[in-house]
Symmetry: C2
Subunit: 536 residues, 2 copies
C-alpha cells in the first residue's frame, strides 16, 4: 500500500505534483494558447488556512472509536476530484465538510453506523477512494439532516477468496485498484479494469458508479465483471447468488450496480477475473481528420474483433497531450490475449483502418506491432493519460476553466452530434470566457455507437471560476440531452449531473427508484440527493 | 407469415406433428428403453371435447371489437408449452382458460385495455407466442380477480425503422422470430437470436423472459441486444433512451428485461442487430466422457475466442438425439463472422479441445471444417433440436414423464453439482416412476461457468402424470438451490418456478420488486403471481 499521504484538496499525493519546471511550461503554454499574461498558480490550501464548521453531531460511545472529527479527515472527505471541487478547495472553501468521518472495519460496524444515522437523522455518505468528479461523495445534502457522516471503506479491503478454476475472486469493496491487482497477480489473474482513477479508487466505488475501465470494447463497464454482490442497506443486507449467468427475473445485481450509495453500501463482490495477458499487439495510426477516423472505429467495432483498445484522439487532443503535431487525428489500437497470438486479429483490424483512411505510424508492418504500447504515439498518450490529473489541477490553480464531459451516442447520429457540440461549445466559451479550446477523443466504442469524451480548456478568472464553469457545464449538459446523448457514460451521476439525469431517466423508472429507496432506506439517510431528490 | 393454424393444446402447428410411423418408432423406443408394453398415444384434444367455464366478464363496448371469447382463442391462450401444460391439455382440462382474449392493434388499445382491467379488477396476462414452459402466460391468478384477460400482442408487430449505420432496428414487440428475421434480411442484417422457440415466439416475449438465443457464448441472453425499450404500465408509459451504452444510474432497461409482464407490457424495442455471417467454421468432436468434455468447454470459454456454438452432449443425450452411439460425449463447435475468415479462431479452439481429450469427427483437418454444420453429428443434433418439441408431445401423449430443467453454476462447483444431480435424480425417478433416464448437455458456456441442461424421461401413468412430474420437478428444484445453481438460466420464472425463485432472490430485492409493482401497477392486475405474490 502506498504510504504517501493523500492530498486533502485534490487528486493523488503531494509528492507527485508538478515540479516548478513543469508548472512554468504549462503557464507558458496557456499564456501563448489564449494570449494571456502574468498567469500565476495559487498555492494549494494548507490545513491551517481552512475553516471547518463545528461538527453538529457526536457519535454514540459505542461508535466513537470508528469516527474521526480530525480536520485532515473532514477536509479530505469534503470533495471529489472534479473541477468545482478543486476550485472550491483552492478558494479555501470547505464549508460542506462532513461533520464526522467513520472508518468501519467490519460489516457489523457498517450496520451499526447506519442504524445510528437512521435513528439520529444523520446523512450517511459512502466513500471509496473519493475520486468522484460528479459530487458523488460531497456531503451537500440539503436541510433535512442533523448532520453528515462520511463512511470511508478503506479498512474493509480484504481479498476473501480466489477461485482459479472459475476465474473469479471474492473481494471486499474498500480495496484499492493496486492492492486488488497485487492480490490477483500471484495467481496469474487480473480484473483487467483500469479506470483513469485506478490508483486511488476502490472496487466498491467502481461498482456503485458503473465505472469504465480503460479497455475500449466488449468489457467496458465494471457491470460485466460482477458475478454477485453484497449490499448493506438500512433495512437489511442484500446478498445475490454467485452465478455465471441467470435469467431468474430482472437482475438484482444490475439494480445495485450504479446505485451510487443511494440504497446502501456495497461491502463485497465476487468478480469475474481473467488470465493475465501474455500476447499483445499494438499499433498507432493517423487519419486526415476525426470523422474519418471515427468511421474506422465503427468498422472495427462492428467486425467482431474486440480490441482491448481502440481510442481515437482528434488533432487538438493529440497535440494537447503531446502525441502528434496537431494536424491529424490519431488512433491507438491494441489487442491482448492470455491464450493466443493476435496476428489474425490485428491484421484484419489494420485492414479495416487502412480501408477507412488510416496510415500506420512509422515503417512497421503488422508483424512489427508487438510491444509497441510504451513507445511512439501510443506511449506518449499513455504517459499523458496517467499524468493528466496533476496537470489539470495546475491549470485550475492558474484560474483556467478546464473540464471533461463524456457521453454516448449511436453511430448514425454521431457526425451531426459532434459538429453541433464543437460548434455550440466554441460559441459558449467565447461568450463566457472570451475564447477556449475543445477537443474530443473516443474512450470506448460499441458496435452501435461511440463514447465521445470532450475536454475543454478556457481562460477563467480567479474568483469567478465556479460561475463560469457552471455556465459551460449547463450548456453542454443541455446539448447532450437535446441531441440524444446520455448525461454520463462512465463518470456517474452524483449531485453534479442530477438535474439532467432526472430529465433523461424515464419517469416511471424514477418512481421505481424512489419506492425502492423508501423500502431499503426508510429514513432516507443514504447519500441523499444522489439519483433521487432527498426524501426528507 | 405462416398461415397454418396453431395448435391450441401444444407446440406448433398440426401439420408438423409426428407421422404415424414416427409415433410408432418412438413408442417402440420407449417400450424397449423402459421395458414397457402396450404404450398408446392419447389423441390430441378436439375443441368440441373440452369444456370451458363461462366467461365471467364482459368488455365495455369501446373494447369489445378487440376482445374474443371464441373457444379456440380461449383454449389456445390457456397454457404454455411445458410438461404440465401438455398433460392437462391431453386430459381435456382447460378450467383455467382466460375469460377473454384481446388482440390490441395499437399502443392506445393496450392503454385502454389496462385501464379497464385496473378499474374492473381483471387480471391482464401479456401473451407473445405462448411458448412459455414455466406457466408464464397461464391465467391461474388466484382468487382476487373478477376475471382474466389474455392480451395477445400478435397484431403489434411492425418493423418501425432499420438503422444500417448503427446496426439497430426498432421493432414492435409482437413480431414473431421468422417475420423479424425476414424484415432484417434484405438489409443484410440479423438479430442472431434463435431460441428453440424461435418459430413461435415474439420479440416482446424474449425480452420479458430474458430468453437465451441458441448462440452459446458472449451474446447469450436477449439482454445484450436491447438498446432501448418501451413499456406500457397501468400508471403510464416508460420509454428508455436509445444509447449504445450508459452509466447514468442503474440501468432502466435491465429492470424491465425479465419483468415477465408483472410491471407492464413491452410494446417495442430498439434492438442491436448484426451483419449476416458469411464466414463459418464448424466441427464436431467426441470425448471419452462428459466431465472431460466440460473441461474442454471451460478452456475454450476462457480463451477469449467466443465461438457461436460450443455445445456438449453427454453420451445419453447424444444417443437420444441420434447424434452418436451412446458411449461417448459429443461437442458441436462453431464459429461465425460477417467480417473475416475464422481459421485462427477455430484452429486454436480445436487445439484447446484436443489438449482436453477431444477427437475431431471424421478425417477432416481444421481446414475441412467449413460448412459442416448441416452434416455429421452437428447436423444430426440440429435436426433433432428443431424436431424435439413435437417428439416430446408424443411422449407425453404416451403417458411418459418428460421434462427439461436448466440452470447455471460456476465451473469449480460443476463436477460435484453434476454428479449429485444425476445421482439423486436417478434415485428420485426410481422412487416415483420405477425408473427413468436423465441426460445433460451444455446450452451456453461462460468464462466462469456452464449452463447445464438436464432432460429427463421416465415412465409415467396416465392420470398421474401431473403428480409424478410435480414430485420430480420439486426434487430437482430443491437440488439446484441446495447446490448453488439458479432456478432458471433462460426459461424464465413464471408460476412454475415461483416458489424456488422466491428462495433464491435476495429478500431486499423482492421488496424492491413489490414496491415497484405497487407504483407501476397500483391495482395489481399485471400478470399476477409472476415474480411477486398476487397483491390483491
Amino acid at each position: 500500500m502506498d504510504k504517501r499521504r493523500r492530498k486533502f484538496w485534490g487528486w493523488g499525493v503531494e509528492e507527485a505534483d508538478l515540479t516548478p519546471e513543469e508548472q512554468k511550461r504549462w503557464v507558458k503554454r496557456m499564456e501563448s494558447q489564449f494570449d494571456l499574461s502574468g498567469l500565476e498558480l495559487t498555492p494549494p490550501p494548507k490545513l491551517e488556512e481552512i475553516e471547518l464548521p463545528q461538527p453538529r453531531i457526536t457519535p454514540p460511545d459505542t461508535l466513537s472509536d470508528l469516527c474521526s472529527s480530525a480536520p485532515y479527515d473532514r477536509a479530505g472527505h469534503t470533495y471529489g476530484k472534479g473541477f468545482p471541487d478543486v476550485v472550491r478547495a483552492y478558494e479555501r472553501d470547505f464549508s460542506v465538510a462532513p461533520d464526522l468521518v467513520a472508518f468501519p472495519g467490519t460489516e457489523q460496524d457498517i450496520v451499526n453506523l447506519l442504524d445510528w444515522c437512521s435513528s439520529a437523522g444523520v446523512a450517511a455518505i459512502p466513500y471509496g477512494g473519493g475520486s468522484s468528479v460528479v459530487k458523488g461523495t460531497e456531503p451537500d445534502v440539503g436541510e433535512g439532516f442533523k448532520g453528515t457522516l462520511s463512511i470511508d471503506m478503506k479498512n474493509i479491503d480484504k481479498v476473501l477468496e480466489i477461485d482459479e478454476t472459475s476465474r473469479a475472486a471474492h473481494m471486499q469493496a474498500g480495496i484499492y485498484g493496486p492492492a486488488l491487482e497485487g492480490a490477483l497477480k500471484p495467481h496469474g489473474l487480473t480484473l483487467r479494469h483500469f479506470p483513469q482513477s485506478f490508483e486511488f479508487s476502490t472496487l466498491g466505488g467502481w461498482i456503485a458508479t458503473r465505472s469504465g475501465g480503460h479497455y475500449a470494447t466488449l468489457y467496458t463497464h465494471i457491470d460485466e465483471f460482477v458475478e454477485s454482490l453484497r449490499v448493506i442497506t438500512p433495512s437489511g443486507t442484500v446478498g445475490t447468488l454467485r452465478l455465471p449467468g441467470s435469467g431468474a427475473g430482472p437482475s438484482p445485481d444490475r439494480f445495485f450496480i450504479g446505485s451510487e450509495g443511494a440504497m446502501g453500501i456495497i461491502t463485497s463482490a465476487w468478480m469475474r477475473v481473467q488470465d493475465r495477458p501474455t500476447f499483445r499487439a499494438n499499433a498507432a495510426l493517423t487519419f486526415p481528420d476525426f470523422l474519418v477516423a471515427s468511421e474506422a472505429v465503427r468498422a472495427v467495432s462492428q467486425a467482431g474483433l474486440y480490441p482491448a483498445n481502440i481510442r481515437i484522439l482528434d488533432a487538438g487532443e493529440a497535440y494537447f497531450n503531446g502525441v502528434a503535431e496537431g494536424d491529424e487525428a490519431v488512433m491507438v489500437l491494441g489487442f491482448e490475449s492470455a491464450d493466443h497470438p493476435l496476428d489474425a486479429w490485428v491484421s484484419r483490424a489494420l485492414e479495416c483502418c487502412r480501408d477507412h483512411g488510416g496510415t500506420l505510424e512509422g515503417e512497421g508492418g503488422d508483424s512489427k506491432t508487438e510491444s509497441r504500447h510504451r513507445q511512439g504515439m501510443a506511449g506518449a498518450w499513455r504517459d499523458s493519460f496517467i499524468r493528466m490529473p496533476y496537470v489539470w489541477e495546475a491549470l485550475v490553480a492558474m484560474g483556467m476553466i478546464t473540464e471533461t464531459f463524456e457521453t454516448a451516442i449511436t453511430w448514425e447520429r454521431f457526425p451531426e452530434f459532434h459538429e453541433t457540440v464543437i460548434g455550440e461549445m466554441t460559441e459558449v466559451m467565447e461568450e463566457v470566457c472570451g475564447g477556449g479550446f475543445i477537443s474530443c477523443r473516443f474512450t470506448y466504442a460499441y458496435p452501435d455507437g461511440p463514447v465521445p469524451y470532450y475536454s475543454i480548456t478556457a481562460p477563467g478568472k480567479k474568483g469567478s471560476q465556479l460561475e463560469m464553469g457552471g455556465e459551460i457545464k449547463k450548456a453542454i449538459s443541455e446539448l447532450f440531452l437535446r441531441l440524444g446523448g446520455t448525461i454520463t457514460h462512465h463518470h456517474g451521476v452524483g449531485r453534479y449531473h442530477h438535474e439532467w439525469y432526472k430529465k433523461q431517466r424515464p419517469d416511471g423508472f424514477g418512481k421505481v427508484l424512489e419506492e425502492a429507496k423508501r423500502v431499503l432506506d426508510p429514513a432516507g439517510i443514504m447519500n441523499p440527493g444522489v439519483l433521487i431528490d432527498p426524501q426528507r
